[in-house]
Amino acid sequence: MSREPLLPSLALWLALLILPALAPGWLLSQLAQHLCYGLLAMSLAWVWGQGGLLSFCQAVFFGTGAYLFALVAMGRLPGVPDLPLLGLVLAPLAAGLAAFLAGLVLLTVRLPTGAPWAVMTLVLAVIAERLAVTSTWLGGSNGLAGIPPLALPLPGGPLELVDPVPTFLFVLAIAASLHLLLARLIDSPRGALVRAVREDPLRAAHLGIDPLRVRLLVFTGAAALAGLAGALFAAQFGFVAPSLLGLGLSTEALVWVAVGGRGSPLAALSGALLVKTVEELLGAWLGPGWPLALGLLVVAVVLLFPAGVLGGLLERLARPGRGR
Amino acid sequence: MLVAIGLTAGWQRGAAAIRAIDLELAAGRVLAVVGRNGAGKTTLVSALAGLVPWRTGIVRLGEARIEGWRPERIAAAGLALVPQGGGVFPGLTVAENLALGAAGGRRPFPDRALWARFPALLERRDRPADTLSGGERRQLAIARALAMRPRLLLLDEPSEGIQPSLVERLGELLAELVQVDGLGLLLVEQDLDLVVRLADEVLVLQDGAIVDRLAGAELADRPERVERHLGL
């Protein structure tokens, strides 16, 4: 699917917008965090669904953003003022830079979209987590705690994002605008270029497109998006740990996107919200059975709904009368 | 004996590549299929071999109804294919290629009669198939199909890309297979001289359907009847 569906998108964002009037605070806090996971899922849908680069390391960039935000907000970065808002700006840049460097090395390997690429991203995620665990500067396996929240410089004095309602609305505004931006990008000629490279890199190269460049840009852009999501997450959670940039969260994100649908950012984001909500509801009850259910769920979705559960639905909505 | 009635096949559901094909091929006979590029000749032989999805129609091999069978089952039932331009396993030696043919036909190997028929291959038995010359490779492809001990042989443009003197030898080999071994051949061929020499019956294919059929002798007398369809 190339076009992001307008009506379902509007419906989701409007439903979330009126939520503060109805839902209790704890649910809003939880949803605000899940929206950060949703952004991570969106970034993965971008590299995987649009770019054709299955990434087992998307959480590395989420974690990079989270750690960078923590370091800036806690004043641990020498020469950088400890302004949380500055951390929010620097986080996507740092994550993008990390992805650019990693992509520069990895994407030039043969068959970049196939097994070698996927295995390399797997290894990258493992190494990133190991590095964070062994680094005392990053707090080792304990991570960094006591991260100050974001403060918005409003005319009537700075507003600290601690209460659920303003925090939720702030995250919601960012998530909705990023979704809009990404959807427009995907529908634009540049987005078509990305899909052309995914479908047939050789033919794209014959048309004068440099597949490596396109892939590197998508990988970097998606990492920046993941980095921003990570910073937003750290600002709310007040705590970062190595598990934020490891294989565990990376593959969890893969589940959200596989379940939701990799073809559309909306489907991926909804997949994250859906799986996370179900996890909150059933996780405690199922215990270790939850990851088992998750594993079986992924297998079932891949076998039965190759476009994802929501993605398949959206596709059918987008093209009525052409039911297969 | 192979019989197809109303065979329709193709990859796309709506637009079948071959439509309503009727044909009959008996042991010891040669049925030739001619037509322009894109007429559906390769699709026809591939469909008979089970390599192109069957849509409708009946295909009988002996007593068995084989339409919709998987290719390995059709091959094991005695219908061997020599595909266009290839038909050898690259990277495997000549002997291994022939052993695979024998394995596919559930036959023993080595096969002394087969080696005797292809002395050039015996000399190169331990060479990888992709290091052979074009003519030798074509021989190997036919020999590989024969190692299956098929009842019927489907040949997709066997003379394509090999030099004229070798086409002559190829004709001798195919004639021998029919007359001595009693095999039935379905021959897709552009070389009309070869068709005239071997065919008992000729089908003319155009846009996936049979537009004309004539006896081999008729083609020899009035080649213009076919050449018209071939755009010659």
Partner: protein
């Protein structure tokens, strides 16, 4: 490790590491290298093999019964996996990756549910030591090395010297032609995948007494093994031997002189460089 480890022992440890890796990579060389199936459940299958030995031993049937049961059981699991899942999505490599990862997770969590998340130990069947270079070396480690070499040799023999192996190679060389030649390609696919899975089970079973086993140890096996298959300088199981030597050798050497994290980084960097070189070679051949 002792303050002044003698070189023969260090080399022996490295060889043990390489051969253990080879045993895990061998199964991948069959399923991934040969059949092209990117099986992320391979790590889970190794763990399953280790827990099979643990369960059989706990049931009082002894280690050797477990060692025999593990490859059979895991091979059977692989067969079911191929028929139910892999066969249907094999033509979509990325989906195969995701689905087999899900299977790996399911295997891992099933083991957690049955045996708990804590680690266990499997007692080696013999604790004799052999005197090598003035120190004593556990004989069981030598046994594991022998099993790795025997499994490699057997796989090579199967592939290169038997009619079954020839049929597998034919199917790999040209699937369509193999089908048109009458080879039972679907059964060959399933059988090959089951064999590769059985090798994973054997690897887990035979190495179980060398370490404490836990449900999460699969990834630690999977990644170096995948790298070993990826950097294999030439196709086939022999290439995997070389790949395992490269990856395992580098890993144990850098671990000894620096740290395990450094070893992982060096292996990753080395793999990238080797794949770059291989890409250059490939392009050169196409021209």
């Amino acid at each position: 490790m002792a303050a002044d480890p003698s070189w023969p022992l260090l080399l022996l440890d490295a060889a043990s590491h390489v051969l253990t890796l080879l045993l895990v990579a061998l199964g991948l060389a069959v399923t991934f290298g040969l059949m092209g199936v990117i099986n992320l459940a391979h790590g889970g299958l190794v763990v399953l093999g280790a827990y099979t030995v643990f369960a059989v031993e706990r049931a009082g049937l002894g280690f050797w019964a477990g060692l025999l049961a593990a490859p059979l059981l895991v091979g059977l699991v692989g067969l079911v996996l191929q028929i139910l899942i892999v066969r249907r999505i094999q033509h979509r490599p990325l989906d195969t990756l995701v689905a087999t990862w899900g299977v790996g997770l399911a295997i891992e969590q099933t083991i957690v549910l049955v045996f708990g998340a804590a680690s266990h130990t499997v007692a080696p069947p013999f604790t004799t030591t052999v005197a090598i270079a003035g120190s004593s070396y556990p004989a069981y480690r030598l046994f594991v090395m022998a099993v790795a070499l025997a499994a490699t040799g057997f796989t090579l023999w199967l592939l290169l010297r038997t009619r079954l192996g020839l049929m597998v190679r034919g199917t790999v060389a040209d699937r369509r032609l193999a089908a048109a030649t009458g080879l039972p390609i679907r059964r060959l696919d399933a059988g090959t995948f089951a064999y590769g899975s059985g090798l994973a089970g054997l690897a887990g079973a035979v190495t179980a007494p060398l370490m404490s086993i836990d449900p999460q140890m699969g990834t630690g096996f999977l990644l170096p093994a995948f790298l070993a298959v990826l950097v294999a300088p030439f196709a086939g199981p022999l290439g995997t031997v070389a790949g395992a030597g490269l990856v395992g050798g580098t890993e144990s050497f850098v671990s000894a002189v620096a740290s395990p994290v450094a070893a992982q980084l060096v292996v990753l960097a080395g793999a990238v460089v080797l794949l770059r070189l291989a890409a250059g070679r490939r392009v050169g051949r196409e021209r």
